[in-house]
Amino acid sequence: MSFLEFLAGRWSEILGLTLEHVVLVVISTVAGVLIAVPLGLAITRIPALGRPVLGFAGVIQTVPSLALFGLLIPLPLIGGIGSRTAIIALVLYALLPILRNTVTGVRQVDPAILDAANGMGMTDWQRLTLVEVPLALPSIFSGIRIATVVGVGLVTIAAAVGAGGLGSLIFRGLAMLDSRLLFAGAIPSAILALLADGGLAMLEARLVASRGAPTS
């Protein structure tokens, strides 16, 4: 039986797992955005927050993903086997790139532009919402793109704690020494990562063009 025939036979299973995979990535990335963007903006206003928050997110980033999933399992409430544990770990991983890009995006706004905003009589909130966030948007967006692409890869590993998704094919393939199963999980997952990267890059380019944001 050729690999293609093998795929054709499991078509609906692969599709279902791909969907599960996408859902896990979307949920964790969206949650990551909802936490990291406001937190990043808060850091630009309260610099004392910067060190502990970015430090925490950075430390998580250095924990190997399999270990992090493993660490979460025994924890009460958030732990256990299943997609909930996986999502919590995935959100934690999504935090750093989004946080960092939000903070640097805002900090990179030309001081002359901020000075003009102040000179026109903007309140701090107006300066943030009308000037800093719009000008930081391309940077924030590329943080989201990084988090998404990394997330696609991490979700495959999350299958180890029973999250589902394409990783379950890979792990099954490993356990059964069946390379066809392994590729049936790995190939769609690689394609997903490429699609997410390309699609978000296109969106990003359109965003920059439509808002006339400066390239500098």
């Binding site: 026109m120 009589g121 107006q126």
Partner: protein, 244 residues
């Protein structure tokens, strides 16, 4: 709105130990166009920025409408004072029209009124609202951007105007017509204007009075006639004769 008085009382300001303004006093009457004339780095921009509290004095007082600027809410103060920034400082992500009507927007004008006002202001500074209004600032020439900066300063009909070398990047012919336009307009509307330039001809063309700034202080204040007839010292004479 009619102009307000602006006064500096013994204002001192240093940046990093470097004394930039040393006990400067100056009174600008309501409705007057006062031109600050002086060489690069003498503190002209600093004087302007003291008025809208982008810079705070180390000592002495700055008064707008008789009230110390420290007693004003800075946001309200700045919205009430038009500011044409040296280097222009347009917001790159907003259209030209939205830049012009930034202060009206902050003041809560409705979009339709803002659009009308933006068109009016753009025409005033010699730009075509239909051609230029929807562009981004980076799609304009340096001189055009500067005109937009002036339009933005005027848009909310402020009581006072701070103009920091507003026509520096405009070509000589365009500058001439902007100067005339500006002179007529400020007279007609009776606004108080603090106008910075290092162009002596421009100073003489626009000013009710000129204040010559040098070495941390004001060397001479007077009408253009007074200054050209009787320069206070060699520096003032050198400055105005250099232009002749």
């Amino acid at each position: 709105m009619k102009g307000v008085a602006i006064s500096f009382r013994e204002v001192t300001k240093s940046f990093d130990e470097k004394l930039v303004l040393d006990r400067v006093s100056l009174d600008v009457s309501p409705g007057e166009v006062l031109v600050l004339l002086g060489r690069s780095g003498c503190g002209k921009t600093t004087l302007l920025r003291l008025v809208n509290r982008l810079v705070d004095a180390d000592a002495g007082g700055v008064y707008v409408g008789g009230r110390e600027v420290g007693d004003w809410d800075p946001v309200a103060l700045r919205r009430g004072i038009g500011y044409a920034i040296q280097g222009v400082g347009l917001l790159p992500h907003l259209s030209v029209g939205d830049n012009v009507c930034l202060v009206p927007r902050l003041l809560g004008w409705n979009p339709e009124r803002r659009r009308e006002r933006a068109s009016e202001m753009l025409r005033l500074v010699g730009l075509d609202p239909r051609e230029h209004g929807d562009r981004r600032p980076d799609q304009l020439s340096g001189g055009q951007r500067q005109r937009v900066g002036v339009a933005r300063a005027l848009a909310a009909d402020p009581q006072a105007l701070l103009m920091d070398e507003p026509f520096g990047a405009v070509d000589p012919i365009g500058r001439r017509s902007l100067q005339e336009e500006f002179r007529a307009l400020s007279r007609e509307l009776g606004k108080t204007v603090l106008f910075v330039t290092h162009d002596v001809t421009e100073a003489f063309r626009l000013a009710d009075r000129i204040a010559v700034v040098a070495d941390g202080g004001i060397r001479q204040v007077g009408t253009p006639h007074e200054i050209s007839d009787a320069p206070a010292d060699a520096l003032v004479r050198g400055l105005i004769e250099g232009a002749a």
